[in-house]
Symmetry: C2
């Protein structure tokens, strides 16, 4: 058995393992995200990872349809059943739409829900592309109508999360696709070509003006007006300046509707007390996904624009339209946790060093005093201080080497002399500094 | 699009959705489990849900091999790749063994890790059988050796979790398979038949003495001695009585080794301060899985024996033996969260009623005062009080009906008169009781 081929033991491309240090960093991200989702009343909804293929492909989003994983039993027993009817979800949006379509009668609207879990996409493997990844979403869904204040709440929640995560200054960029569409029409873009024109504009930051202008022209715009549009859209303005400008831009009916929504979002953010430097109107944001119909959001870490958007989302007019005639407008955001974590670690914004969630290693130099050591560990834990206790019978220096290797901040030490003196030693493992603590007040003095 | 067939929108059998109330209850379970895992220094290890089939089947556990789901792209693009080499994990044990086999050099042993995540088994669907379920595991793994004190720590962690969950009295039942094997041999069971004899004994509680006796006889034991064994094993004794008895039972070498381990586990639990009524030695516990080689654990809620074991585990001598020649003894426990949650709710031990994680609904009766309402919500959240704010423009009674339907404990209310008087009203939605709060000290007075 032991000559198992080594190459088969490596992670499959696109399906990475997070070792303890990275998993601890991920848990830190998730704890903050979860906290802000909950604080605003977003209830978890845990949809299965497995759905029917028909449900997943009902909306028929070209590219994604070719990335859906179906299931089959590897070694089916005789007479085994219906696995051809199983497939892995590729996002949280489709399962949520299914849930609403089937449970609408018992739900109270607006329905706020969160979803944190794995999704799967059979993309060609390349660097930084995951085929299994963790996504953290929230949505608010109305029945018939949903106030643009919900869009503002999304931005406020993103702002709350990234303020607490403290990765430096960031900006949520807000746009409204109705406004953008009106501006495009104003510059001679046709309704037929609108999805392609939006998709081209969405790539402005990555692809640059030249390439995008070519794409706009290829989809029927005049070169001059295409360039004018691309000069104009990404210009830096405050939210207030943008609103003032748009009011005088002579937008058509749909554009004016979008402007009304956008204004309500900005007024909502002011009322919610979100610091004005944390958001802006960016008319060049489109988001590629065709189902967005109003607000769209992206979030940039100001000092790390190369990371791309760290939290994105938008408004859709009819989220369950594939499954029901009823109208359920929604607005949502999504944080691609796996991708974000990898980028934060790579950019040095998050550390992934300590291989343990514990603050302290309780060393056990004197085997005769095991009961005391176990008691120290118990006291620390009861006080909410995570600690590991070294339970093997090994020399003290081996125990310290273990503590160093795993990256514990502190070691608790008690040798014979310390027991005699009725003290324990707390050693700071990075500075080497030591402190005498009283066993009777261990947790208190540790803090 | 909207005539999507209704039956296709239902959950697939074995792949249930947890609605908000159940998902909130699950999150409560997980928060306690996660806290105790972390407090004792178990680092999260996030292995992918997708593994190579060869890795999953290396140990060739008969029944499970027929339950493994492979993946395939539903609509592969031309030239698409290697999906025949992908399959879904069926437990956390195999991926952990793979991780250790590949990362042993950089790991510090003993290696404590936790894993909380979904696993998949293509069992025939029947009531209460999940094909996708959430499993929460910890393991401690040594290199070459691992002290039985780690086995005791597992029991202590189970005891800590279920004490805090407060589901009533519970008992961790501890046994050692070496001891059980020695007792079986003592009564004439053969080494060849040992796996079957253990498996039969493991079913004692469910199947009853008669059936198990028949199975033992079918596997070569004499009827009288089989009955004697089955009378003797499950007898109620304190841990101390059991140890005393076993010491005088004339166990063979392997049995004595097991007894030494068992004794060390019990002494460890005493030293760890685990209340003695929370654990017992139960000589009839075997655990079906053949890889356990020493300690085995099950946990029973004393008042709900019908729930079965709520946390189980044991010791294995060579956990990565399928992949490496090195010896990595380990001990672990597993909590089948999905199954446990469903049973707890069904038995009325856990409630799954509130459809929201929020304490308060901030109602918005006077649209002109939206900024104030938003400010109340912000203050409550900043103080750690989760609250939802009603953002739609709807009559006040509709807002209260919404609060009732979702099960908020409290509603915050401010009508024109209250703004005039400079107060807000906190209404307890179950008792109807109302209280006047000062907007300036909202969070403080709420608490």
């Amino acid at each position: 058995m032991s000559d198992f081929p080594k190459r088969l033991l490596e992670d499959v491309s696109g399906f990475p393992t997070l070792g303890p240090a990275e998993a601890i960093a991920e848990e830190r991200l998730l704890a903050v995200i979860r906290k802000h989702f909950e604080a605003a009343g977003y209830a978890p909804l845990e949809t299965p990872l497995v759905e029917r293929p028909e449900v997943l492909t009902a909306k028929n989003e070209g590219e994604i349809a070719s990335q859906i994983y179906g299931l089959r039993l590897l070694n089916p027993e005789e007479g085994a059943s219906d696995e051809k009817d199983l497939a892995l979800r590729f996002d949280h949006t489709v399962p949520r739409a299914r849930y609403i379509a089937t449970h609408a009668r018992k739900l109270a609207f607006p329905f706020r829900r969160s979803a944190i879990g794995k999704v799967f996409r059979g993309e060609r493997a390349k660097e930084g592309r995951y085929r299994e990844f963790l996504q953290a979403d929230i949505d608010a869904v109305g029945h018939g109508a949903l106030s643009p204040l919900h869009d503002a709440e999304m931005v406020a929640i993103i702002a709350g999360i990234f303020a607490e995560l403290d990765f430096g200054p960031f900006t949520v960029r807000i746009n409204n696709r109705k406004v953008l569409a009106a501006l495009i029409r104003h510059m001679g873009g046709t309704e037929d070509a609108m999805p392609e024109l939006m998709r081209a504009i969405d790539r402005l930051e990555k692809a640059g003006k030249e390439k995008v202008a070519l794409a706009l022209v290829a989809h029927g715009m005049q070169q001059e007006r295409a360039r004018e549009l691309l000069d104009f859209l990404p210009a830096k303005r405050s939210a207030e300046e943008s609103l003032t400008f748009l009011e005088s831009a002579g937008l058509d009916a749909e554009g004016s509707e979008g402007l009304g929504e956008l204004t309500e979002v900005i007024r909502g953010l002011e009322a919610m007390g979100v610091p004005p430097e944390r958001y802006t109107i960016d008319l060049s944001i489109a988001r590629g996904l065709s189902y967005y119909t109003g607000s769209v959001f992206e979030t940039q870490l100001d000092e790390h624009p190369d990371l791309g958007s760290v939290a994105s989302g938008g408004r859709y007019a009819h989220l369950a339209s594939a499954y029901t005639k009823e109208s359920y407008p929604g607005v949502g955001i999504s944080i691609g946790v796996s991708r974000l974590l990898a980028r934060l670690i790579k950019a040095g914004i998050m550390e992934a060093k300590a291989e343990t969630p514990a603050q302290v290693l309780v060393t056990t130099a004197e085997r005769d005093h095991l009961a005391e050591y176990l008691n120290y560990a118990k006291e620390l834990r009861t006080a909410g201080i995570a600690c590991e206790i070294y339970l093997e019978e090994k020399p003290f220096d081996k125990q310290l080497a273990f503590a160093d290797k795993k990256g514990f901040p502190f070691a608790l030490i008690a040798m014979k002399e310390h027991f005699d003196r009725g003290i324990v030693i707390l050693r700071n493992l990075s500075s080497g500094e030591q402190q005498e603590l009283s066993p009777a007040a261990l947790a208190k003095e540790f803090k």
